[in-house]
Symmetry: C2
């Protein structure tokens, strides 16, 4: 019942406040990162948050609702990051580059969100969600600015190419495959160079 002004006390203390929901989500994210989306347990998450195994059901209807909350949160974070990146770019090429860097950085900093976002695309019969990955639209817009005089088919090809390259780079990076096979001391620098290869391929396609 004590109203605490200090937030220093960590873990293993029962939550009698309103932040259990966020504590559970944080725990779930860590567990998903360690054990995968499908096999993390709500009981473990409750334990990590310092509450009983029944407590999560005060904030979430079931386990799927937790995953859905992470999905929505992921979309929000993703959209924010990409919007910021889009605004930062000074040229068509610069915008595409910044979008790509933001995409990969999001995957690095929020790997559990990232995996949930893309792992659920074809997995469950998704009920309509109140969040959308509007960040993708920025990628499409960015490509259109890069190829002003091109056909719809060319736009499509470049959108797929850019999306694939950043998605693949992100995946290989968070799965450790890039590090394992060729070393990756500075991922962002490598990504910028990689995007450079991609973008230079478009310079003689517009006319």
């Amino acid at each position: 019942m004590a109203r605490d002004g200090q937030k220093g006390r960590e873990e293993h203390q029962p939550y009698h406040h309103g932040d259990l929901r966020v504590a559970l989500l944080a725990a779930a994210l860590q567990l998903i990162d360690e054990h995968g989306v499908k096999s993390f347990s709500l009981k473990d998450a409750a334990k990590m948050a310092g509450v009983s195994t029944a407590a999560p059901y005060r904030h979430f209807a079931d386990k799927e609702a937790v995953i859905r909350a992470i999905l929505v949160e992921g979309y929000e974070l993703f959209n924010e990051s990409l919007a910021e990146a889009y605004a930062k770019g000074k040229s068509p090429q610069g915008r595409i580059t910044e979008l790509g860097v933001a995409y990969v950085r999001f995957a690095e900093q929020h790997p559990a969100h990232f995996r949930v976002m893309f792992g659920l695309a074809g997995s469950a019969g998704d009920q309509p969600l109140d969040a959308e990955p509007t960040g993708f639209l920025l990628l499409v817009e960015g490509v259109e600015a890069l190829l002003p005089g091109a056909s719809g088919e060319q736009h499509r090809d470049l959108v797929v190419a850019c999306w694939s390259v950043v998605h693949g780079f992100a995946m290989l990076l968070i799965d450790g495959a890039l590090e394992a096979t060729m070393g990756m001391p500075d991922a962002e620098k490598q990504l910028r160079r990689t995007l450079g290869v991609m973008i230079s391929g478009t310079e003689n396609a517009g006319h």
Copy 2:
């Protein structure tokens, strides 16, 4: 005990032959495809193969050994496919294209193998495996032939770019993201166009 010449009888009949191992692997692959690598169950696989829940342990030490067998099988299939593709290409550009098409086709036709291969890269403290993804070396060779006069750094950039684009395309494809966001009636045709964008980016980099 009857020696059967016909292979028509399917499922739910106990296996008294030597093909239980392969039947279990096939079941495991299907279950991994449906439920993910970490959360498929060996008991389910046994049920699908029509044997008791203890039977799998006659062929595999534990669940991890099943996953390891799938990993090795995956490498073999992958290496075969990429070697064949490499041989098929008539020019440096053609070889890279065929390698990319083979990479994505492997992911489409063997999604469970594919996910196991890349999902385990950073996950477990892997003990040394008697199989290696030599298919990757073909990608490196293919890139070298594409950029004969280039620096090691340029080689590296293009290897990362090519690998990222095919890996990303494959992932987005098997996760259903390409289909969901932009429709994908003919994935291979789209991939060839996408690789074209990538490769054309290298033509003014070599000199």
